[in-house]
Amino acid sequence: MPVMRDDVVAWLERCAAVLEENRDYLTQLDAAIGDADHGANMDRGFKAFMAKLPSVADKDIGTILKTLGMTLVATVGGAGGPLYGTFFLQMGVKTANKLMLTPEDWAEALEAGINGVIARGQARPGDKTMVDALLPALEAFKEAIRNSDSFGKALQRMAEAAEQGMKATIPMVARKGRASYLGERSAGHQDPGATSSYLILKAAADTWGHVT
């Protein structure tokens, strides 16, 4: 069973809620190795999108995701704006005109989104960024599908890998973004962007858990 357009809308609504709930947590993480605004940034961005959602909730999945990307680049601010903006924009380009997503559709969209983040931010695995949660999540999802896991199971694997990747950023020394100005002192703290990425992917797994 594929993920339907309305399931995508539900996912994004969940993202907004989760990012609002975790606003202070993300801010705290960003206080340790940044400028303490990641929580506010993500909350503001998704709230701005929630205001737009009614006007696109009946469109195709690509349009919804592109709108999200365009909204985020204009409202999130900081490093995350262009990066998350690109992420969702590229997902939207890949899913243009679709009203449902097969597991392959989701893998391709996620891959396109991550490629966009990497192209813009030039982060590599181990640089202590959102990429350290996103890439393992993508790989885990693709592997689960190769192993004939159900869509729902594969999404779970994806969320678990995102969580692992997020935690794996703790010992890393940041090589991108504000945290990199701290050098060695950035080690020992979980990366805020990897955390928000995890939350977003977890929200997908939780929202779509019912699909087989």
């Binding site: 592109k66 990307g69 680049v73 601010g77 490093a79």
Partner: protein, 315 residues
């Protein structure tokens, strides 16, 4: 300026637009503010996503370092359509009320003389102060803008600032000029990086596709690049050997050792390599690597006699 009369002391850069506007517009009337519908604006912003994503962080920084001083900062497309606005809340609201909103066109024909249209038209940073704006509504404002050019010299858009006329300053002009330059340079850097990555990807794929020993040496005879075949045939550990001199593992015949450093080297010959003393016979080539007129090193290829025999056997 009163009654549509031009002040003769007016900046010539501003006088010409006035001459253009005067026949067509009533300076006392509120300007026609042509505005794109939501959908079309979204499509325009989608097409210009890269510009928006690049400009936005810089606009946020411009705001951060002038915060509270009364600026609205805006990004325009090449037709002077507003793409994005940010800045001090009160000023942004007031500017929005007079048309500084995403989707609105600030073309001279609709809004009268203003820095945003003028910068794009004259292809130069420009500031328009108070009564220099043709339309009376903008006499309380100062607009400042600089055009942004793309990699082929085509206009990508403009970055501009709007502020209350009391706040008119010369350094705003320097600021938008430098901001446009920063955006252009960042776009150029990203393009160059992408090109760099593509060449490297081709380079690496070619190396792996070739079933001969292929190595690239720099002018100091150190190994800069080698393919899998080279590592295997010559018994080298890729992670260990990069940056080390070829001679630390492999002895070339003396005549060839000199040839390594020749900026014009272009030779092919039978040769025996000594690998930790043991000879390996085959066919060796050396070709200089030059970046324009700059000698970077050379490419060494080698095919074992044995391998050649095997290739024949395969056919």
């Amino acid at each position: 300026v009163e009654r549509r009369e031009l002040n003769p002391a007016l900046d010539p850069l501003v006088a010409a637009p006035w001459a253009r506007c005067a026949p067509r517009m009533n300076p006392q009337a509120p300007p026609a503010l042509p505005c794109l519908d939501e959908g079309t604006l979204e499509r325009v912003r989608l097409t210009l996503f890269d510009l928006i994503a690049t400009a936005r962080p810089l606009m946020e920084d411009l705001h951060q370092f002038t915060e509270g001083s009364g600026l609205a900062i805006a990004l325009f497309d090449p037709a002077a359509c507003v793409l994005d606005v940010l800045g001090d809340a009160g000023i942004v609201r007031a500017a929005e009320a007079v048309g500084l909103r995403p989707g609105v066109y600030w073309s001279e024909g609709h809004v009268g003389t203003n820095a945003f249209a003028l910068a794009l038209l004259e292809r130069t940073p420009v500031q328009v102060v108070g009564a220099e704006h043709f339309v009376a509504l903008y006499h309380d404002w100062v607009t400042t803008a600089a055009p942004i050019y793309g990699l082929d010299g085509q206009p990508l858009g403009a970055i501009g600032v709007m502020a209350p006329v009391e706040r008119a300053q010369p350094d705003t002009l320097g600021m938008v000029m430098a901001a446009a330059r920063a955006i252009e340079n960042q776009l150029q850097a990203a393009e160059n990086l992408q090109e760099s990555h593509q060449y490297l990807a081709e380079l690496q794929a070619i190396l792996e596709a070739i079933d001969q020993v292929v190595m690239v040496l720099n002018t100091r005879g150190e190994i800069v690049r080698l393919n899998r075949t080279a590592a295997r045939v010559l018994g080298l550990d890729p992670s260990g050997i990069l940056g080390r001199p070829l001679s630390s593992h492999i002895q070339l015949p003396p005549a060839l050792q000199n040839a390594l450093m020749d900026p014009q080297v272009h030779l092919e010959t039978e040769a025996a390599l000594l690998i930790d003393g043991a000879p390996l016979e085959g066919w060796l080539t050396l070709h200089a690597v030059a970046e324009g007129r700059h000698h970077l090193g050379c490419v060494l290829t080698f095919r074992r006699s044995e391998q050649i025999h095997r290739m024949v056997a395969r056919l």
